[in-house]
């Protein structure tokens, strides 16, 4: 039985590294997209508008004759980088709030948790839509809207984990040795609760990308000249019947990127799953 468990742990780890490599490759391709683009993504040429996919234009062209392959590459960069940045900020903000709230307790805790209740009372995407609508369109406002709806999840997770850890003897020992609250929180509590939060964040990247694209699709995200996957699809809506590739190309790009991050997130969860290993994060990843 024990033998079998080790083998499956090895498999889990291999899977994780395969997906990690895949994601890194994808990320590199997106990051250096300006070098890979065969055409200028914003160059218009109405003479070749709405051409189906061909050897010259891999994904075809849109109604302004712009090369869709180049636009998808650049658009993926916009969507992915925004989503990554947004998830990082949301997770950091939520985690810090949750840790402080859980560690301090008292009035501060009640206040912060009420605030998160309030943010959770509005269905996420809907609230984001309303905020983005009020602040006016633009990728920045769409991201801000998603930040406001996203942080409570991390705050609650970090809080419950901090609460579970708060009375552990090693923390008392640290406090007796003279460690400051900040040091306790960031050097001792954070490493212990990081795995769960990391998995949540990894699985959130895909969802965030889809939500951002959704907001752009409704005209609440990136402004027209910027290539962004959601707004590209919104652009192609009226041409669904005659030139479906205008929608299929960015749609498939979203699908591929989101799949990649979801697979990575799942694999990461399996690697870090506390139920299958008693070892802490960090040591477990070492070969």
């Amino acid at each position: 039985m024990k033998q079998r468990q080790t083998v499956s742990r090895q498999g889990v780890r291999t899977r994780f590294f395969v997906f990690l490599t895949l994601t890194v490759l994808l990320f590199a391709a997106v990051l250096f997209s300006h070098l890979l683009c065969p055409y200028d993504p914003n160059a218009q040429n109405t003479a070749i508008a709405l051409q189906p996919p061909s050897a010259a234009h891999l994904f075809g062209t849109d109604r302004f004759g712009r090369d869709l392959f180049s636009r998808v590459l650049v658009g993926t960069k916009t969507s992915l980088l925004t989503a990554l940045f947004l998830v990082a900020v949301t997770a950091a903000l939520g985690t810090i709030t949750g840790m402080v709230s859980g560690y301090r307790g008292g009035v501060l805790d009640t206040l912060l948790m009420r605030l998160s209740d309030l943010c959770l009372a509005f269905p996420g995407l809907l609230f984001a839509m309303a905020i983005a609508a009020m602040l006016g369109g633009g990728l920045k406002n769409a991201a801000l809207a998603l930040l406001l709806t996203g942080w409570p999840k991390y705050a609650r997770l970090a809080r419950s984990q901090t609460l579970a850890l708060k009375d552990a003897p090693f923390l008392d020992a640290c406090a007796l040795a003279g460690a400051s609250t900040a040091r306790l929180l960031f050097s001792h509590i954070l490493p212990n609760i990081a795995p769960t939060l990391l998995v949540t964040a990894a699985l959130d990247i895909g969802t965030t990308m889809m939500e951002l694209a959704g907001l752009s699709f409704l005209g609440l995200g990136a402004a027209p000249p910027t290539a962004e996957l959601g707004s590209m699809m919104s652009d192609g809506r009226s041409m669904l019947q005659t030139s479906p590739w205008v929608i299929l190309a960015p749609g498939l790009a979203i699908f591929i990127v989101v799949s990649c991050f979801n697979l990575l997130g799942d694999a990461l969860r399996d690697v870090l799953d506390p139920r299958s290993t008693s070892r802490r994060f960090g040591k477990d990843l070492a070969p």
Binding site: R114, A121, P123, A130, A132, M134, M210
Partner: protein
């Protein structure tokens, strides 16, 4: 029971009050008010004095909380103001669209349950075997496709290529409700199937299942009579939680299929910056969401005698 309900409703009051405050603040965030909007819509140009006068008439020169108080007072009397665009009352506008959205939400929720509960159970029972792998592949696909892309793909396939369903769904009938509900159902059931699978797997790992098998009870009997009954509460909770994402998801799907419901109304209102409509929509949805959670909490007691009311129900 009545006392418990009263207590819960009382606890809801601050939350509801904060929701209204936030909805009201949203309107102020917009940086524009009714007077400016009306001016833009009618195309007239007013002098600064005329603007100030119009604001004074509408009470827009009062402090924030005074305005909020008046707005709340009107709200409690069912007056949500009038739309900037159509000039009609917001309340009746939304109320007229409610049945369409409820139909859509209801049908897709029904489809989701019919699809994902059996699939989740099958996946759990056949863990890591072929049926489980196939089901997991599909839930993975559903989770990685944005719902507007699914909607467009379905339109392309069923409405344009196969011509089985109408592209635009102005009339409400069984045929027109199918594609929009299917879109919502695909996204929801991918999540829900996974959750059902996890919950059932956890229950199957408990010792009583092993004990029943050891005593020769048929597996299907254990599954139907014990396991399913035990996981009912958790499934119910998960479902109420997914109702929230359903409410948010309807806006995009309704506007793609031109389904004449509240979601499309809100999406259109956002485009035209018709703030009273957006505000009222957000408010309604938030209140509905909170009430759904309350209903779920109340139902726990009925489904699971261990968490009967009064005691510490976390």
């Amino acid at each position: 029971m009545a006392r418990y309900l009263f207590k819960r409703l009382l606890e809801l009051l601050p939350t509801l009050l904060l929701i209204t405050l936030l909805s009201f603040a949203l309107m102020r965030l917009a940086g524009s008010d009714a007077v400016l909007q009306k001016m833009e819509n009618t195309g007239t140009v007013l002098s600064a004095e005329e603007l100030a006068h119009a604001r004074a008439v509408l009470g827009l020169d009062q402090p924030f909380f005074v305005q909020y108080g008046r707005w709340l007072f009107d709200l409690l009397h069912g007056d949500l103001g009038t739309s900037y665009v159509s000039g009609k009352e917001v309340f009746t506008t939304l109320w007229d669209k409610l049945p369409a959205t409820l139909t859509l939400a209801g049908v897709s929720l029904g489809m989701t349950i019919l699809l994902s509960v059996p699939l989740g159970i099958v996946a759990a029972v056949y863990q890591n075997r072929l049926p489980d792998r196939i089901i997991r592949l599909f839930t993975f696909l559903g989770n990685s496709l944005p719902n507007f892309f699914v909607a467009l793909l379905l339109l392309l396939l069923f409405a344009i290529k196969l011509r089985l369903f109408p592209v635009i769904t102005i009339e409400r009938n069984a045929q027109s409700v199918f594609l929009p509900s299917l879109t919502l159902c695909i996204a929801m059931s991918s999540k829900y199937t996974r959750q059902v699978r996890t919950v059932v797997l956890e229950e199957l790992g408990k010792e009583y299942v092993l004990a029943a098998t050891a005593r020769g009870v048929r597996f299907s009997t254990t599954l139907c009579k014990s396991v399913l009954r035990a996981v009912l509460v958790q499934l119910f909770t998960l479902m109420t939680l997914s109702a929230g994402s359903l409410l948010g998801g309807t806006a995009i799907v309704e506007s793609i299929f031109l389904w004449d419901g509240m979601g499309k109304l809100a999406a259109d209102a956002i485009q035209m910056r018709d703030i009273p409509i957006v505000q009222a929509y957000v408010l309604w949805m938030a209140i509905l969401y909170v009430l759904l959670h309350l209903a779920a909490d109340l139902c726990y007691g009925l489904l699971d005698p261990r968490i009967r009311l009064g005691g510490k129900t976390a």
